[in-house]
Symmetry: C2
Subunit: 236 residues, 2 copies
């Protein structure tokens, strides 16, 4: 059956073909995935249609596909490893850069002033996953994510070897919980008249929660931040 | 083809049939789902097999099936509502009580001393979802969760109307973040010589973050806790 699409529909169909390598059956969810909330118009019953609901769905589908992928790829790794790897793959910064690399962010309709919001590309990526799922089902979406995204664009070995930046984790936590995080250089010891050994304390609000010693200030900060992070969260 | 199972396998097959209404193709993942980490034995390569990896997988699969269920059931609700409803359905306390009601916790092999750990039944529930997924795939697992679990055991209307308990949310947050949460009655006013109007302050660490006034102490606490919660998290 021949379906006539308006020219912008055809443009979107071509883009999906180029990016993901398939033709949509139903273009409607993909059109919705392109609608950032900044341009959403109210429908008759007052509901504003934007890609946010699709983003909720796509986030969940992506999470479970990545979980299964890691579960099968690493049969001898424990759930702590699997959880950490998944959160690295689906982190906002990783999804943002994936979305830009795929060119998905070019398809998003948004008001100019909201272009600066950092999460738009990654949100759109999740919304597209939601759209693929509604159009083609779970198995198809899994094949697309594994064959077109993970195998092409994600370097699992590099993700594994990336060290966790505890200082930035801690600062982010402080912003969220409205508590000041301060790193203070409290001591410089000269060792062998040659190297300096630095001691850094980290304060969370009024409490000193960690301290680190190293020949590099950056490393001493990381040690202190890791100790504080483990106290605050009970895990790493 | 006739497969011979040992008696405990047959017992597990019968239990799965009774609880979920189907016969497993492959009993191995369900057997693993019954193994709490307290009884895990190390394999030749040092890896301890328990249900924790399956719990990771099942948690993700359950999350995406519930997300889709809510997405389709509530086409005019925004993603904030969908997120809140999902977190109520998959909350540890809800999964624990589901697991007990289904009788899944009876199947778990665990050391006696760990029976007191509160999350064992809910963890086992997630591990069983992981096992069903590995044995039967996504569509089948979705049918089981919707037809045998959600439609039978979850009262969505009741979950929607349940008020959020901000006091317990705040106390839980305080325990996680190692900060004292204190509710203090700071004023009692007599109104019309008859009713008492209570003022409750809530302190998080050393900071007063909220205050509530009501004729009921419980309600004044909830008002104070809600204000503090919104300050801490930026949302409700």
């Amino acid at each position: 059956m021949f379906k006539k699409h308006c020219s912008s529909d055809q443009k979107l169909i071509n883009a999906i073909n180029n990016i993901f390598g398939f033709s949509p059956k139903n273009i409607a969810p993909y059109k919705l995935a392109c609608k950032h909330r900044s341009i959403a118009k109210s429908s008759a019953n007052g509901y504003k249609f934007s890609n946010e609901r699709l983003e909720f769905l796509g986030d969940a589908i992506l999470g479970s596909i990545v979980a299964e992928y890691l579960f099968k790829k690493f049969p001898y790794k424990d759930e702590g490893f699997l959880t950490e790897m998944r959160s690295r793959i689906v982190s906002r910064s990783n999804l943002n850069s994936l979305s830009r690399r795929l060119g998905l962010n070019q398809l998003i309709e948004t008001h100019n002033e909201s272009k600066s919001t950092n999460s738009i590309p990654g949100d759109a990526f999740e919304a597209f996953i939601g759209a693929i799922y509604l159009d083609k089902g779970y198995e198809f979406t899994r094949e697309v994510i594994i064959n077109k995204i993970i195998n092409f664009h994600i370097d699992i070995e590099e993700l594994i070897s990336t060290e966790v930046n505890f200082k930035s984790k801690l600062i982010e936590w402080g912003q969220k919980n409205k508590l000041d995080i301060n790193f203070n250089l409290v001591e410089e010891e000269e060792v062998n008249n040659k190297h300096k050994l630095y001691t850094i304390d980290v304060n969370v609000g009024n409490d000193k929660l960690g301290s680190g010693k190293d020949y590099s200030i950056k490393k001493a900060e990381q040690i202190a931040a890791k100790i504080a992070w483990e106290k605050l969260t009970g895990n790493d």
